[in-house]
């Protein structure tokens, strides 16, 4: 029934979504148990805050105005935080594992008991042959028609006057309930009777019974074992009047999640009905609603609304019969739900892992998996769109479908993050998050279009081996691109810091231009070619670069005819043009700058920027030329191939120049020692940058070339009707084994170079990595962010206790001095103050530098005061002079104390610090 793409049956997607639904349910339950049980959410928050303070790794916004730290230190701090939590979470791990096991066990129990309970509750009676031999014989014939290996047990529902039925059961025990009203139709309306029974048998045949009822059992088990305890817990908190700040956030998010899952479940059940109807239609060999859905045409159901129902509207079912293949088309709602589910699963999986002390690199794997899953979902939708296009009507709005799907997935991702119980942040997304999601959607649209085109090519392929390899290659490309590119968007909220970070790095890179001061273009060229986005996320990213290579090699290998014979020379020509440009730049450099001034890091960066800029220009022109000539003939893949050829050749030349260029005077730029020293990693880094930036240049060039070609065609139609249309250089397309071989060689060479071993730079000419240097120099800057959440965490994580202890000890000491108390008593309070200060010093200082400074000064002054008094008393030198020194130190400490108190009180009031 389902159409096939290149011989492989297209999955409907609903089974995957049911699995997602169950995964989501378990993930939410895990988070609920983790946060709520057994010691309550407040205890969990306190534990997390304590560990943040002890490790100095504050979640959320960074403390201000501390400068950005090198990444290894950040990772070390995070690992300390995770290790601290890991020591405290064994009971929670056990509790959560126990609760999830109980939930699963209850789900299995409900699933197994459900048929028995239904039969008992509805008083269903097995239909015996003796009741009506003719009827039972007819039912047997329908079972045979449905192609079921085992006949289900037919039961009669005497209490139900409806003309309907129901499929249910568990495992291999399947039942079909026939309502009493339906049985009367056997003689009065056999067509309707057959349609209804076949519909239920279609559910059995589609394996809807075990999947659906297990999903329902999981949902009910979730309600019983997780949701109800959570609601009771929140009510109990309210009853106890415990000021727990997160309970409203948890409540509304949970309500939204429950509603979403409920609606999602209903939507999936409705989709299943469409598929069952389509199968009945296939069995009957007709899409006539009078045969397939005889009781439905003309039926109008106004209440409840369709989104609350488990069955579609009758009119929709009738309409879907006409074009069953349309059921497979990707849609907004489906992808929205998938996005929400995926994001929630990610967040709710990451949170317990975070709490369980998982190392940092595990999160990189997790976010990479998230990215791969997102792109695979989009690829899945695109492949289904291609299947519909191939089987359905001639012109289908595939672009619209894909756009909606990607938009749905992006929106679902954002919505899922907002609804997650772990973040509890602002419900409305910020501008950065919206922009990030927009970029993600753009990426997904481009990728889905590529998958769609490749699927179309696969659809034309007849060889099974090629189909399998093709699907594998498409899946690999999509996964690699998702793995390497999309993890950035797994937490849109956390991208708030990315623009400022990239801005700092970019500014530092641009400073090289000012430092070198060669031409007025240096600044701009550095920003374009050493773009921090590319350098941070693309250079030395083997997965991303391999995915980009697969973008052009897959369609070229799948295409019946290629024009490699044209594209290859154009690519090589581009490399030759770059060589001329490079020689000119180096000559100009030698003419204008003395060698001593050229041998600096800044100048090396500027020279590289010029070389890369020339390469980008060449790649742009190559892409435009190929697109203009091969207009609408798989031009983009050929353009990418030609650009990759240029990039690979130029990368080889750059590497060779670094190695041997110093021996040839025209190629000398900054060093004259022959031969130069360089490494494989240098070549890999250069090719990585060239691959990423070259792909962008190729796409832009392709768009430019196609636009020019389109304008020329339009002009030729209006002004010169007899223009010769044969493209210059295109030649006759060859059924291309040689072309494919060349493409495969270029792709293999690219990946092989990209995979050269990663070792630190060894060359003496190109030793500077502008981004690393920029990160180092950028760390001197300050960041004026206004986030102070970490300060609050510090206070709640134990800081307020020390603050209070120091306060009371100081007050006691000062009181004893001012009241002329017994000197021995004053000494006792001084010792206590000293002890309290010592304990406070062992505690981590506040996270932001201003408060840390005040804290240190306060403790130092108070400690000095107390120690002076004790020393003077013990040595018998306690006179007025010594006492004045004690009081002055004490005053200094109290002043710092008041400043610190003003800072905190002005920010938090008495919500955090009772002393305010």
């Amino acid at each position: 029934m389902r159409p096939a793409v290149a011989g492989l049956r297209t999955p409907s997607g609903t089974t995957v979504h049911f699995a997602s639904l169950m995964a989501l349910t378990f993930a939410i339950a895990a988070t609920i148990h983790w946060v709520m049980m057994p010691s309550g959410p407040a205890a969990w928050t306190r534990e997390a805050e304590r560990c943040q303070v002890r490790s100095g790794s504050y979640l959320g916004r960074p403390p201000e105005p501390r400068p950005p730290e090198p990444r290894p230190e950040v990772i070390q701090r995070y690992d300390d935080f995770a290790g601290c939590l890991a020591d405290r979470v064994s009971d929670r791990v056990l509790w959560t594992a126990f609760a999830l096991s109980a939930m699963f066990a209850l789900a299995v129990l409900l699933y197994r008991l459900q048929p028995w309970w239904r039969i008992r509750r509805q008083r269903l009676v097995e239909l015996r042959s003796a009741d009506d031999p003719e009827l039972t014989a007819y039912l047997r014939s329908l079972v045979v028609q449905a192609g079921l290996p085992r006949a289900p047990v037919f039961l009669v529902d005497p209490l139900n006057p409806r003309a309907g039925g129901l499929a249910f059961g568990h495992g291999h025990r399947r039942y079909v309930r026939l309502d009493a009203g339906l049985l009367t139709l056997f003689r009065t309306d056999p067509t309707s009777f057959r349609a209804v029974v076949l519909h239920e048998l279609a559910h059995v045949r589609d394996r809807d019974v075990p999947i659906t009822y297990f999903a329902l059992a999981v949902w009910r088990s979730f309600l019983i074992t997780a949701l109800v305890p959570m609601v009771v817990g929140l009510l109990w908190l309210s009853w106890q009047d415990v000021p727990f700040r997160s309970s409203p956030g948890i409540s509304w998010r949970t309500a939204c999640l429950v509603l979403l899952v409920y609606l999602f479940r209903n939507a999936l059940l409705r989709i299943r009905e469409y598929h069952a109807d389509a199968r009945v239609s296939a069995w009957l060999g007709s899409a006539d609603p009078r045969l397939c859905l005889p009781a439905l045409p003309g039926t109008v159901t106004r209440w409840p609304p369709v989104w609350l129902r488990r069955h579609p509207r009758p009119a929709s079912r009738v309409a879907a019969l006409a074009e069953p293949v349309a059921l497979l088309r990707p849609g907004f709602g489906e992808c929205l739900a998938a996005g929400i589910v995926l994001q929630l699963c990610y967040v709710h999986t990451a949170t317990p892992l975070l709490a369980a002390g998982t190392p940092f690199h595990v999160f990189r794997l997790l976010s990479g998996g998230w990215g791969a899953f997102v792109t695979l979902l989009v690829g899945f939708a695109a492949a289904r769109g291609a299947a519909v296009t191939a089987v359905g009507r001639r012109r289908t709005p595939v672009a619209r479908w894909l756009l909606r799907s990607c938009f749905g997935l992006g929106t679902g991702t954002l919505l899922g993050e907002r609804l997650s119980l772990s973040g509890l942040g602002d419900p409305l997304p910020g501008a950065v998050a919206l922009v990030a999601i927009g970029v993600l959607i753009g990426q997904l649209v481009l990728l889905s279009w590529w998958v769609h085109r490749c699927s179309r090519l696969l659809h034309r392929t007849r060889l099974a081996r090629v189909r399998v390899i093709g699907w594998f290659a498409i899946g690999t490309a999509v996964s690699l691109l998702g793995w390497s590119c999309s993890p950035l968007w797994s937490s849109p909220t956390n991208l708030d810091r990315v623009p400022s970070h990239l801005g700092r790095v970019g500014a530092s890179i641009a400073d090289f231009g000012d430092e070198a001061a060669w031409t007025g273009l240096d600044h701009a060229l550095l920003l374009v070619t050493w773009n921090p986005v590319v350098m941070e996320f693309a250079a030395q990213n083997l997965a991303l670069c391999t995915g980009l290579v697969l973008l052009w090699v897959v369609p070229l290998l799948l295409a019946h005819r290629t024009r490699i014979r044209f594209a290859l020379p154009v690519g090589l020509l581009g490399a030759a043009a770059w060589l001329v440009f490079d020689l000119a730049v180096k000559a100009a450099m030698r003419e204008t700058i003395p060698l001593s001034e050229r041998a600096t890091d800044a100048f090396r960066a500027v020279l590289t920027a010029w070389e890369f800029s020339g390469l980008l220009l060449a790649q742009f022109l190559v892409g435009a030329a190929v697109a203009a000539v091969l207009f609408r003939r798989a031009g983009l893949a050929h353009a990418l191939f030609a650009v990759a050829t240029t990039g690979l050749t130029v990368s080889g030349m750059i590497w060779a120049f670094a190695r041997l260029g110093t021996c040839v005077p025209p190629l000398q730029a900054m060093a004259t020692r022959c031969p130069g020293v360089t490494s494989g990693e240098y070549a890999a880094t250069v090719l990585g940058v060239v691959t990423v930036e070259g792909t962008v240049a190729a796409v832009v060039g392709y768009l430019f070339g196609t636009t020019v070609r389109r304008v020329l065609r339009r002009w030729s139609r209006t002004r010169a009707p007899k223009i010769v249309r044969t493209p210059v250089g295109a030649g006759t397309p060859k059924p291309g084994r040689a072309g494919r071989l060349v493409a495969a060689v270029v792709a293999t060479a690219s990946v092989a170079v990209l995979a050269l071993p990663n070792s630190p730079f060894e060359t003496d000419e190109e030793s500077s990595d502008p981004v690393a240097e920029a990160e180092r120099t950028g760390s001197n800057g300050t960041e004026a962010e206004s986030g102070t959440a970490s300060g609050r965490v510090w206070l709640r994580g134990g800081g307020v206790g020390h603050f209070r202890a120091v306060s009371s000890a100081t007050f006691e000491f000062a009181e004893d001095i001012s009241s002329n108390a017994e000197v021995r008593e004053v000494r006792g309070s001084a010792v206590r103050l000293s002890e309290v200060v010592t304990e406070a010093r062992e505690f981590p200082e506040p996270p932001d530098s201003r408060r840390a400074e005040l804290w240190d000064e306060m403790l130092g002054a108070l400690d000095d005061s107390a120690r002076r008094f004790v020393d003077a008393f013990d040595t018998g030198t306690l006179d007025w002079e010594a006492l004045r020194g004690v009081v002055e130190s004490l005053e200094r400490g109290v002043r710092r104390f008041e400043e610190l108190l003003d800072l905190w009180c002005g920010e938090y009031g008495d919500r955090v610090l009772a002393a305010c």
Partner: protein, 176 residues
């Protein structure tokens, strides 16, 4: 014994009605009568839920005759039994007696051993005094009144009430 007799009367009478008026309901009649005898109110109330997961999604409700026939037959029996006390004092209710005799005779014909011994154990003095034959006009009228009242209470249309009552009365007249 009284309950068994009531069940037998109800099911047999209703089955005859269904056979004559709605034979298409016969495949489900056994299950329906069983459900009725277990919980009459629940059967007559029917089931409201029509949007179950993996159901057919069809909300078309068929006006079944079987539940109504069973309910009316039971009402007729109950009415006759209630009046039987007075009738015995006055010399016996011929309708009820005729019915009892008929069921015993049919059981004997079917050759069931247990049923064959039933006449000796079940009120032999009453059974011996009963006579068989067609209902009198007065008896028929009484049955009709009871059946009509019950059928209307069930919300049947006048046409169906008329058909149902006629079939009930006819079934009582049948000798088989």
């Amino acid at each position: 014994m009284g309950e068994d007799e009531r069940r037998e009367f109800t099911v047999t009478t209703a089955r005859r009605v269904v056979e004559s008026l709605a034979p298409e309901e016969l495949p489900a009649f056994a299950a329906t009568s069983e459900a009725f005898l277990r919980d009459p109110e629940r059967l007559l109330a029917g089931r409201r839920c029509g949007d179950e997961a993996l159901g057919s999604g069809i909300d078309t409700v068929v006006a079944l005759l079987s539940p109504a026939a069973l309910a009316v037959a039971a009402a007729v029996y109950d009415q006759l039994v209630d009046r039987a006390g007075d009738a015995v004092v006055r010399g016996g209710d011929r309708v009820l007696s005729r019915l009892r005799a008929r069921f015993r005779r049919r059981s004997a014909v079917e050759g069931d051993e247990d049923s064959a011994t039933e006449p000796e154990t079940a009120e032999p003095e009453t059974a011996g005094s009963l006579t068989t034959g067609p209902l009198t006009d007065e008896q028929r009228e009484r049955v009709r009144e009871v059946a009509e009242a019950r059928a209307r209470a069930l919300g049947l249309t006048e046409d169906r009430v008329r058909l149902l009552v006629g079939a009930i009365v006819d079934s009582l007249d049948r000798e088989d």
